[in-house]
Point group: C2
Amino acid sequence: MTERTLGRGVAVVGAGMSKFGTFPGRATRDLFVDAFLEMRASVDLGLDPEVIEALYIGNYSSDLFEGQGHTAPIMADWVGLTPRPATRIEDACASSGVAFREGLIAVASGMYDVVLVGGIEKMSDLPTERVTDTLATAGDAIYEIPAGFTFPGFYAAMATAYMDRYGAAPKTFMRVGIKNHENGALNAKAQFGLRIADIMESKKKRAADKGRPIPEWADELAFLEDERANPTISWPMRLFDCSPISDGAAALLLVAEDIADRFTNRPLLVIGSGQASDAALHDRPDPTTIRAARIAADQAFAMAGIGRDAVDVAEVHDCFTIAEIIATEDLGFFAVGEGWKAVEDGRTARNGPRPINTSGGLKSKGHPVGASGAGQIVEIWKQLRGEAGDRQVSDAAVGLTHNVGGTGQTCVVHIFERRDQ
Amino acid sequence: MTERTLGRGVAVVGAGMSKFGTFPGRATRDLFVDAFLEMRASVDLGLDPEVIEALYIGNYSSDLFEGQGHTAPIMADWVGLTPRPATRIEDACASSGVAFREGLIAVASGMYDVVLVGGIEKMSDLPTERVTDTLATAGDAIYEIPAGFTFPGFYAAMATAYMDRYGAAPKTFMRVGIKNHENGALNAKAQFGLRIADIMESKKKRAADKGRPIPEWADELAFLEDERANPTISWPMRLFDCSPISDGAAALLLVAEDIADRFTNRPLLVIGSGQASDAALHDRPDPTTIRAARIAADQAFAMAGIGRDAVDVAEVHDCFTIAEIIATEDLGFFAVGEGWKAVEDGRTARNGPRPINTSGGLKSKGHPVGASGAGQIVEIWKQLRGEAGDRQVSDAAVGLTHNVGGTGQTCVVHIFERRDQ
């Protein structure tokens, strides 16, 4: 592995996001304006948008979701950046994580001093089966899709291989969902702001209101094991193991480190960045790991010059619950085959030693695919600045994001450090 | 306008392309392999692909054309670059011109020393009307497409406004097509390797062979004015004013200037780069110019520190014949309203004082939209190295590419100089 060094340091000095959810009648451009305005308000010393020199926008497929290609100039126009260069980046569900990396590289190159990075996706205009088909195009259209694979199927295959090899059970996956809903319930931007316990109680109440027999679920696990409450999508992945269909946008402001003090005295320095690619799942030797994530993480930690223990809080790509467990192993937080035990032991809980997905993750916060990577960075921004409210991790100074495209054909990892001035 | 300076110099040391045309049964990945292998063979001192650190791939919409998203890792895999970072760039028909700029920025940043830039598109799998619909998504899906606009319509609107204001006539546009087919007939990679005169003669011969009356066209203009030979698509744009539906790929190798001598002693230095965005056509004040092209050109010439007269050969974005005329004005080669006279006077011919589109342009070489920007750079590579064969411009030392997305919501301009060592 070649160690990477950038021409100059780059800092994040603003971050914002729209609410994630489903918003009939609102297009990506409308959601991006929400994110841009919140980002602008987050800049401590104020932001004159005139200083922004370029826009990088992560978007998976407005082509298929909205019948709109060439989205980047529209986003620039809608937030008043015309005629600045506007470039769309696509790497499936890693689109805006990679767009962030392009913004980082562009500032480091000297081409720009101030860059806006965005992520956008509007998925809910299509009926569910067409959303599933659209997402499937992030697999291999020649070798995988004709064989019948969709994304729940891909990740179910990874989950069964993982269970077989390491002894995890479907209950372990359910615990990931319970944890992430606990966190998302504390996040006003989350699509599902309810704990699993809340959902269970509301179902009981609805049954009672309608005069039906009240289900007797002993606890959240019993609720999630009830096929009627939590139907199987692709075994062992059930409904509550899958991230939802979402609309949303996020926005981040990157500047050269040496001018960060014009914007804030509390910037986040980007201390590590890594990106790797891989073959599609059918052509990889081991479905229990995402090789691109291991490589990207090694690059990012090498650039940062820190060890895994230095990370205080991490947002990882839990498009399915199994994906979070694999991610924590690929990142080196837990040994191979041990990630599921960490969940069982509560080690990845918000108040545990290794907090994962304090935002609620893709599972509870929502997964507007092209916006998810940028959304992860918004959470790290809040955590490292102590602005995460009831879900704040105490004394968080170093944060990490892990954003996967497809079944792992792309992974991008970033590490951030708070640098109060 | 801020003047841009890069962290370090960047050189092009290899270039190749597939044949452009329509290739049933071949996917973009197959065409990209063709381009990669020709690029590899073009590296004077040989290329070990192991030294390539990242891939930037320009592609407009494999999503809609082929039902394949997340294309960049597939392209990396198909040419043996896995697990290198692989990133897709989309800015409509400017996708690979912008991908080239991202490669330039990435090398300048210090993140990579050696980067592969590609452009790909496979358009011919769809029926023509669906190709037209797919291209239309590069307009505005809320404000323009529901009004009935397709791309021949957009550029026809620009052409009628231009004729009205400056006195050009449809014959002028036809002369652009005649010139570009003259050039393309000398390019073995061109989709249409025939001069208009050749096409006219073959139609006469076919009529004679079938015992039908032989059409009496006095010359090529008379042929092009015959509605049966050259039907109107959207007045004044006729069939021979429109670039074709094409499949194709191109590949370029970029390296840090200080290591270029490991690859060749005849590199092209990238001396200028500019990119700008704009609103969609319905929201722009003047349809006779592409504002983003003027801004991108000013940026590129300012970075290069040269005047317009220093450019020996240029490839400009002639998706329609009117677009070439507007491009030569936007680039500052001719005064506003004078570009059409330059065509009439033969000034843009291969042996004229201002050679434009020696490759045949998008009109004759073909327009696989996501590959066209990279394909333009392949022509400049050949011209500046004296490898353009019968279409060689003598003593060409400085070349320019001008690549437009949509109706001008994106434009990217690059300037290259031969630096023999």
